[in-house]
């Protein structure tokens, strides 16, 4: 074995315990070190890929296997069932059954939000941009309940893709996502403040996604402000009663655009 082959095999399989690899590594501490480095890389891959599995998944799988729960499956049906294995109709039905409840919930949520904006016509709710922002906040309402901190570095890695950089944020960032705002990709983040979680949307203004409507908007729960800058629209949505302008100013003065 030469050095090149050794490296190729260790990189392909860092936990390779083939005797010839082990023997070759013994000849030179550098070889041993190389194996350790590659195993270290593998550990970090392992950690990064080790995402949490949804709770109760095994039970859900068993519950959703119809024949498994059916104590009366007659042998006469066996042929029929095995034919159905390749049948996409069965597949589509089970898919529908799985997706039905969340879909119904999402649909009713949208109806509720729609109804809210429709009925609050006379209550000074800004239309267009504000409605758009609020709908988005309600759509991802769970984003306000996160608590794990996301570093400014991570935020900026994403923000850099839109050509921007944040010097600081007024609080701990707990949610970070690229979102689609009427076809324009923007940043959606949530940070903690003394006035509860606040949502910020930073949307490059080329598409004028937030072009229409008042700059200030509110409903019974949230108040917000839209700042239409030359590079992007910055939208802040906070709990009613929070000093929205003060926070909007802080965020705007922290944004740098990398031209």
């Amino acid at each position: 074995m030469d050095d090149l082959e050794f490296r190729r095999r260790v990189i392909a399989q860092p936990h390779n315990e083939d005797q010839d690899i082990v023997d070759f590594a013994k000849q030179d501490p550098e070889h041993q070190k190389f194996i350790e480095q590659m195993q270290e890389l593998d550990d970090s891959l392992n950690q990064a890929l080790d995402i949490p599995v949804p709770k109760g998944l095994a039970d859900r799988i068993l519950t959703n296997t119809p024949e498994y729960n059916d104590d009366h499956s007659a042998p006469d049906n066996a042929n029929l069932e095995s034919e159905a294995v390749e049948d996409n109709v069965i597949n589509a039905q089970s898919r529908f059954k799985l997706g039905g409840a969340p879909l119904a919930m999402a649909a009713s949520l949208f109806v509720a939000i729609g109804a809210f904006f429709f009925t609050s016509n006379e209550h000074n709710v800004a239309y267009g941009a504000g409605e758009h922002a609020l709908t988005h906040v309600y759509h991802e309402i769970n984003s306000l309940e996160k608590s794990t901190e996301i570093s400014l570095q991570t935020v900026n890695e994403k923000f850099a893709e839109l050509g921007g950089k944040l010097d600081e944020l007024p609080g701990k960032v707990t949610y970070l996502m690229f979102c689609d705002f009427k076809g324009q990709r923007g940043l959606h983040l949530v940070f903690e403040s003394d006035y509860g979680p606040m949502t910020v949307f930073i949307v490059p203004s080329k598409a004028q996604s937030f072009g229409i409507g008042d700059s200030d908007f509110s409903d019974q729960r949230f108040a917000g402000h839209i700042d239409r800058g030359p590079d992007a629209d910055t939208i802040l949505v906070a709990s009613l009663g929070a000093p929205v302008d003060q926070y909007t100013n802080r965020i705007n003065s922290a944004i740098r655009w990398l031209h």
Binding site: L41, Q47, D50, I51, N64, D180
Partner: protein, 185 residues
């Protein structure tokens, strides 16, 4: 003969055995399959659907699995086929353009979390032909031979792809590392 008492009770025994085998498969493999599916599609809901479909099909075809030791590659083959089917169906646009799920409830330090996100992103950037063997090896713990069987490739090709996958990651990550150091100066 159908209707005969003996054959009926035999059917019940067979069914009980089949259920026990199935439960075992689900409990042993659902986590690894979920992780593998997640990194293939990077969407927790689609990943769960894929795993569910895989086990549904596994249940229906369980009699064809003669050797329990072959269960893992068998399930992976079903899951990969299901994933391919997904692209044959109509594709929907999701509103979250990049569905980066950040790993939580692991109580990792901030540095670890940043590193994990960087590693995850670099893995996602790998071409599928390199990413899949790597996921099979790292997430599913498959050997070179198993990967070769599942992907229908020869073992040398698998080894070359594993080598290239890690080599690309190694280079990309050391580049990221230098950038991080540069940024903090």
């Amino acid at each position: 003969m159908p209707g005969n008492n003996n054959s009926k009770s035999q059917v019940l025994v067979d069914m009980t055995e089949k259920k026990a085998r199935y439960e075992k498969l689900v409990h042993v493999y659902h986590s690894e399959l979920y992780r593998f599916a997640y990194w293939l599609c990077r969407d927790p809901n689609i990943a769960e659907d894929l795993v569910q479909e895989t086990f549904l099909r596994a249940w229906r075809a369980l009699d064809s699995l003669l050797d329990q030791k072959a269960a893992k590659p068998w399930l992976l083959t079903i899951l990969r086929r299901e994933n391919a089917r997904r692209f044959e169906r109509k594709q929907f646009d999701y509103s979250d353009v990049d569905n980066d799920t950040l790993v939580d409830d692991k109580h990792v330090t901030l540095d670890d979390e940043v590193e994990q996100t960087i590693v995850q992103r670099q893995i996602a950037k790998l071409p599928d032909e390199y990413k899949e063997p790597l996921l099979l090896q790292v997430v599913m713990g498959c050997s070179g031979e198993e990967i070769a069987n599942i992907l229908d490739l020869n073992k040398n090709t698998v080894m070359t792809r594993l080598f290239r996958a890690r080599n690309q990651l190694k280079e990309a990550l050391s580049r990221d590392d230098e950038q991080l150091k540069g940024a903090s100066k």
